[in-house]
Symmetry: D2
Subunit: 344 residues, 4 copies
């Protein structure tokens, strides 16, 4: 491999643009060698800002490019699995936005191709790279909290997505809670064995019409007896609410929301501080850069990436179990989901 | 009735002593006319501090005393129901520590006696009178948070009780979570319809031997579609953890722990504040006085007490449902519990 | 001395009433044997609530009463010195509201009488007994912060007093900052040597007309080289602002304001908490009880009271120096004030 | 002017490097056309990372380069004034690190050259661009706090600089408090009229030997009657302490320290959070980028820069007054300093 990892970026939408900027300005040992998007003009415009001249409209131009060491897959979800397979077959290392697919069988096929090709695959569960959650993860791993007894994850969006998005996303557990499922696994140091979920529509009636929920509570049981509770809402009027609490034998650690400033105002009406940072772009900006740094390091030092395809598969199992639990009003074991995926 | 409500206190243990002191020093329009305890010497010692001379060893001496307007029942739980019935029959107003009984049928009989005698009965769910939780209750009732979507209650003790207590208490849901069940009902403004509970033994193996749990997570569904999550632990090394969060359409309100001081210390090691107030006596001291003030007011102004016997019965239903849910690993409806109590 | 210290209370105004209630309900080993006030009817009304029957209109009735061990002087300031002298001559221990007098010579005469009679004299600098400030004092005394380098005291009232009060009070440094001067000495563990003060009228022009300030900043230099900065305002629209910060070689400790609840509310408008407790009665309620407990203990165990007449004299020196400094726009040494008081 | 402002950077030390990186990655409409440093190898190394090839060892190569629109002066302080004059004479816009000079006459000469050449000059008081302080500034400017009554600035370093730095820096008021003087002016919306300062050596005796202080308290009076108190220490063991509080007629706003994470940990020992971000590079990273964005905007839109040479001169007056006040133990007016600078 050359001195720098030559990266090709597939998909220059919102997240693709952020990744390109980070690779150019904030990730050591990487260079963006090419980008591809069906909207080739917009891709050229963005690439031009960073002096990137190799712009294609066909992702295969990148995947088959011998000068490219690694690809970033930022295309729509339904293309992820096939592009992973193609890239793996071409011997490229892969960073892919989550999820690999909304389907277990498809996901497994992609993982098999990666294993066979012995390339790296990192999944875009960026929240693991957030400084707040990393600190808690470190505390858990180093034993500062003792054995983990319970985890609480609060995850609320500032506003519901367009109904068109909800229709295609696979549902709240697949598009929103899936980040929390991964966070739970990341923090617990143990695998989820059973899921109980409650879903309701309290905010946007149109969401009920497409068969989804806008509010949810999920309880996860882990193999080590820890329990995690997740609460989700599509709409918190005060902004993006992203908190985590881990309680263990030796103590508790809580990550509060990040805010634009640390200013407190006292008036006749009360004592005020800022609302949380508005949404994921503001809240998790650091994490988007850090996940790429770690991906490039995994490639250059030939190590296991910090978030693997298996992590994606496990989160998918949990999401499937949650959807089934909410629909059937009963706890659903992960084993049941795994088994059902084996049945054609 | 005389100018002041003449109160007889039955049971001069830890909580009885607190009530006597509060009635003498902090509750307007009340006077302690008599106390009774089988340990009559200790009762005399405490009563003497407040100039109370009428001390008996038999509670019936109080219940049948024509000079007494109201009784405080602070005896062991298994005596509550029969003393409520005797007091009601004697026309006394009643303040009773929770629970009325660990048994639904017994509880209903006590409530029937109260209804028949048309006396007041207030149950000792003191946490409703805590300033933090009262503020949140007021916000909900006044609509400041809009429709309630979810409630989170964290309730952790600093240390597990003696195993002898656990054996007799009826289990964690009956002796500990029951306060949280009442809090959930108090804050939700709606009735619980279904319960899902997870119980585990993570702290004290001896607790498993007597068939109880030391850690629990409970999910409550309400008639108005709100969902409440309660997490309990018998042992938080940092002290008594008593927090509540209500999330609604218009915002969220969180009650944090109360601490001895508001001092923050910055050293080379970090930035420190106090641990929470150690346990319920420190944390809820105000609420023990306030519940009696409101009881006395209910008596003097002939109003419904702020916590009724029916509130006790509902909390008992939820506790029974939680125990069944944890044991059978399935959601249990309150209706199922109510029905089963009707079957002889 | 009898089992309990028999206390006579002189002056049944706002603070006298609080002291009577605390002595009856919250101070062990004390009993209120008599009270006196020129408004004898109001004194009888309040005393009656606590079963106190010995009510006089002449304070000398208390001072000369052989059954009385100690007097609480809660009369107007201009009577303090003469009542201290009379009580000392009669062999009574004395708790006196601050200040002893606005005049140094008068103050010294009262202290001389106390010394001669060998009775206890405690001055009502109640803030020393506030749990926040006590914690910081303990940290300093135990060396947890190392050598003290600087102290910051913020002390702002919610609203200015009536202009009639300002006229008679001796000025902002004498009636308001004097508490902060005592706090500074209490925390520094060293004596003030020099004072620089700035006074201005930013809130209430009528205060300028009577020759006083409504806003002030004072810098104190201590013998141990520490420096204290005090900032005062007669009007903080958000309520009573009472904070202290001590910075030393090994760290810093800050006491924030106390609030009615620990509830945080998040809405579309922002994240807000309670305003501070409104004023000194709410904020310092605990301290009023604790100072009497310690006074009674000093009497019963024949120890030096925790706040002495000398403490009052030192605070008075500082207040005089501050007033001179603000008027003449120069640093003024305590020595200069002490010397000038010796000159007839 | 070309599409982008072509910037030459003079001095590639610690701050010069940060500015180069920001100009390349974080400042729109700017490009680094050349850099100069006597250590030309290190300059080449750094420039190379950003593809900058024009590297000189003589700053005049930049100042006289016709392709350059603006210079960033990041050289040692004693070169600032002459480089400003040379750059102004060459018609370049100038961004200069603070201070222009430690000498008033020299400073005025530089400002005169800038005025004559009608170029822009922005001074590197970067803290004005910190989001915390900007928010408070906005609140003041918009009147949300009403008339400003008092300002408190806490500014403590984590560790004292090397004694060699202290010797050359002009003293604590010139190298450290000068940032706070500018902050005070920025927030007050009024000019300082008088200064009272206390300096002491409590941390590092060697600092006394070179005639400087390591601890200071400064009181500033403003034309609008507001008062500002600044407290400085060369060593806060818990890290870089940078707080500001503005108190006014309608309320108060406080900027607390920024911390690496928002995680709170509760253990048997206490409840603790992170220490503040360690020092100015961590704490003020955003502000270094923002000040350059605004400088480039001032150049491209031909507007007054947000921090002018006059701002630098005023801060210098205050620093001189503070040094004199601390030395002579008396308040010193700014007018006195201005007058004395006119006397040869």
């Amino acid at each position: 491999m050359a001195e720098k990892v030559r990266v090709g970026v597939i998909g220059v939408g919102r997240i693709g643009k952020i990744h390109i900027e980070n690779l150019c300005y904030g990730v050591p040992n990487a260079e963006v060698a090419a980008v591809a998007d069906i909207n080739v003009n917009e891709a050229k415009r963005w690439a031009g800002k960073f002096g990137i001249t190799n712009v294609a409209n066909d992702p295969m131009a990148i995947i088959t490019d011998e000068n490219i060491d690694a690809v970033l897959i930022c295309s729509p979800t339904d293309l992820h699995a096939q592009q992973i397979i193609a890239a793996a077959d071409a011997g490229k290392h892969i960073f892919c936005e989550k999820p690999i697919a909304n389907d277990i069988v498809k996901t497994k096929k992609a993982l098999a191709a990666v294993r066979k090709a012995k390339v790296k695959l990192q999944l875009g569960f960026n929240r693991r790279f957030d400084p707040n959650f990393q600190k808690i993860h470190t505390l858990v791993r180093e034993g500062a909290l003792g054995e983990v007894h319970s985890i609480k994850i609060t995850s609320r969006d500032p506003a519901p997505p367009p109904i068109s998005y909800v229709k295609a996303s696979g549902g709240i557990f697949m598009d929103m809670t899936i980040h929390d499922f991964d966070m739970a696994r990341y923090l617990a140091g143990s695998e989820v064995t059973e899921v109980y979920a409650v879903g309701s529509v309290l905010i946007e009636p149109a969401i009920a019409e497409v068969g989804d929920y806008d509010s949810a509570v999920v309880v996860l049981k882990f193999a080590n007896q820890a329990v995690c509770v997740i609460d989700n809402s599509r709409k918190a009027v005060y902004g993006y609410d992203q908190r985590v609490e881990v309680f263990g034998q030796k103590g508790s650690a809580t990550a509060y929301n990040k805010k634009p400033t640390d200013v407190e105002i006292s008036t006749e009406q009360g004592v005020y501080t800022d609302k949380p940072l508005y949404f994921f772009l503001e809240r998790y900006m650091d994490s988007f850069r850090m996940e790429l740094c770690d991906f490039i390091t995994a490639v250059t030092s030939n190590e296991e990436p910090p978030v693997t395809g298996e992590d994606g598969l496990h989160a998918l199992y949990i999401a499937k179990a949650a959807a089934m639990s909410a629909g059937e009003n009963r706890p659903v074991s992960i084993e049941e989901i795994e088994q059902s995926a084996l049945t054609p």
